[in-house]
């Protein structure tokens, strides 16, 4: 690598001790390298990184380390709904008749009564039918 080609590495402090000393000697004699080095230094200063917008960084944290769990905000509402539902179930259970404690004899009597009535109607209809034909 020619001496002039080392100006970039020199600017970035990437030459080892011997190379650096040799290039500094070259630099004293080479106006073009001095000028290039000067512009490189000025460019480093001019392009010093400005701060990233705080809003962008805040938004990043909101999406990562400070992200709230999906259910976190809903916890009180979910707990309230669950309690309300449980209370409602208990109230309704208290108002409903106990369907397992029915009186079977009443049902049989009701069904028999209806059956008898239907049977009588059917018999009457049959008698009328036979009379006509």
């Amino acid at each position: 690598m020619k001496d002039c080609e080392k100006v970039m590495l020199y600017a970035s402090n990437e030459l080892d001790g011997t190379e650096k000393a040799a290039f500094e000697k070259h630099l004293q004699a080479c106006a073009a390298c001095r000028a290039e080095l000067a512009l490189l230094r000025r460019t480093e200063e001019a392009l010093a990184a400005p701060a990233a917008p705080a809003s962008v960084v805040d938004e990043l944290f909101a999406k990562t380390t400070r992200r709230k769990s999906f259910f976190a905000g809903w916890k009180p509402a979910l707990a309230g709904t669950a309690l309300l539902g449980l209370g409602l179930v208990m109230v309704l259970a208290g108002l409903q008749p106990d369907k397992t404690a029915f009186d079977a004899s009443e049902v049989i009597a009701y069904m028999s009564e209806n059956l008898d009535e239907e049977y009588l109607n059917f018999s009457n209809d049959l008698a009328l039918f036979e009379q006509e034909f």
Partner: protein
């Protein structure tokens, strides 16, 4: 936040983050937010897109830190991830124009063409241009050269060569061409300024 985190190396912070420390992740963000944002912004030239891409890079780290191998190259990993996001951004916008194009200017390396002892245009410029003029000149560079000038702010040439998968000599030549191009832009700006003053 634990004040000792600022003393930790990048790899130590990644390991701490892997073990559940959100503070370690935030320290990494604080450490690189300005340089990374500036690099992305210099490439895409769009504040909204730069903000989105910046977040995407760190969200990739947040989600896939387990895939990161701690070999002391976190900064290179971060900038490589950013570069890939920028490339995708241009692909999406059909603007993959010049990031990986060969420079159209086949200048001889360095100042071989200058006559011995002649003061170069660079020499005449150095120190007179303002920081704002330099920033404007950097933004006027072709994308490949602009990338080089900005990456040089945060990475060594050896790291840049590794990041871009190019020979060190190519990277040095690109940076040299970038500086020469800036010199011409600055000379033109100052020439125009003088014409206006006259």
């Amino acid at each position: 936040m634990d004040p000792t985190l600022t003393q930790r190396t990048d790899d130590e912070l990644v390991l701490l983050f892997k073990s559940g420390s959100g503070d370690a992740f935030e320290e990494l963000v604080y450490r690189y937010k300005n340089s990374l944002y500036q690099y992305i912004m210099s490439m895409v030239q769009d504040e909204g897109a730069a903000g989105d891409l910046f977040q995407e890079v760190f969200i990739a780290l947040f989600k896939h830190a387990d895939k990161y191998e701690p070999r002391g190259k976190f900064k290179s990993w971060l900038f490589l991830t950013a570069r890939n996001r920028v490339l995708n951004f241009f692909r999406d916008r059909d603007q993959l124009t010049s990031l990986d194009q060969t420079d159209e200017e086949g200048n001889a390396f360095l100042h071989d063409t200058l006559p011995d002892g002649a003061p170069s245009l660079l020499e005449g410029l150095a120190g007179r241009e303002t920081e704002e003029e330099i920033r404007r000149a950097a933004l006027e560079l072709p994308q490949r050269q602009r990338e080089m000038i900005y990456l040089r702010q945060y990475l060594s040439f050896k790291e840049i060569a590794e990041l871009l998968n190019r020979p060190l000599g190519t990277v040095l030549a690109d940076c040299h061409r970038a500086i020469k191009k800036m010199q011409r832009i600055l000379a033109a700006q100052q020439g125009a300024g003088r014409e206006v003053n006259i």
